[in-house]
């Protein structure tokens, strides 16, 4: 019972984090703060996916133990079957590994664009940029 409650509580907390970061990206005027909340949004989504792949009785990461670079001995079928019963879901992790690196690539691009904006307009706050550039 208490385990179940804690389980739902973790999910709820992660989703609340997503909510707060979405709101912050939309509302806060400072570009750096927008970017910080953007990274938090990404992180929360990663952790949410990993959380969805975790089962309460799992004790192993999705890596077969006992491997070595030289003279490796592959596990037998029964060992692997026993291993499957105690591991987490690898598929969310597969998606996220590349997503993290691409997230950084996108983020670098955002950073460079912000640097250009700062040099062009002398400010990083979006409301001020609007005043400086004279747009509506």
């Amino acid at each position: 019972m208490i385990e179940e409650l804690l389980w739902y509580y973790i999910g709820f907390t992660i989703l609340l984090t997503i909510g707060f970061s979405i709101y912050g990206i939309a509302v806060r005027p400072h570009l750096v703060k927008k970017m910080a909340l953007f990274t938090i949004l990404g992180d929360a989504v990663y952790v949410l996916l990993v959380y969805l792949g975790y089962t309460l009785n799992s004790t192993n990461p999705p890596v077969i133990p006992g491997g070595s670079l030289e003279n490796p001995v592959f596990s037998s079928k029964t060992d692997i079957q026993r291993f499957i019963g105690s591991t987490v879901d690898p598929i969310p992790q597969v998606f996220i590994v590349t997503a993290i690196v691409i997230g950084l690539a996108v983020f670098l691009l955002l950073a460079i664009v912000s640097l250009r904006i700062a040099r062009e307009y002398g400010t990083l706050i979006t409301t001020k940029i609007r005043e400086v550039s004279g747009d509506e």
Binding site: T59, N60, P61, V63, P65
Partner: protein
């Protein structure tokens, strides 16, 4: 040889100590007034978390979980250096 079950008997006590320390450190992080104090508290917090991570790996009895400990320990130093650079940059202006 001491059995793994004996360890599972004492591990909750040890982990809870570090968890309590983690909570208080993070309260310190959240309530600090200046950037310097905050980063200082984060230093101590991350070192605390390194130990906690090793204990979690011991709990799961999996060597694979130890793999992130060394990058995390060296991250603290990176944070210190970059914050010092940032502050110095503002000072020299």
């Amino acid at each position: 040889m001491v059995s793994y079950e004996t360890l599972l008997g004492v591990l909750p006590v040890l982990m809870s100590l570090f968890t309590i320390a983690m909570i208080i450190y993070s309260i310190r992080v959240f309530t600090s007034k200046t950037l310097g104090s905050m980063v200082l508290a984060i230093d101590a917090l991350v070192v605390d978390l390194v130990v906690l991570m090793v204990l979690v790996a011991l709990y799961y009895k999996s060597a694979f979980l130890l793999i992130g400990v060394i990058p995390l320990a060296s991250w603290v130093f990176l944070l210190d250096v970059v914050v010092a650079r940032y502050l110095e940059k503002r000072w020299s202006k």
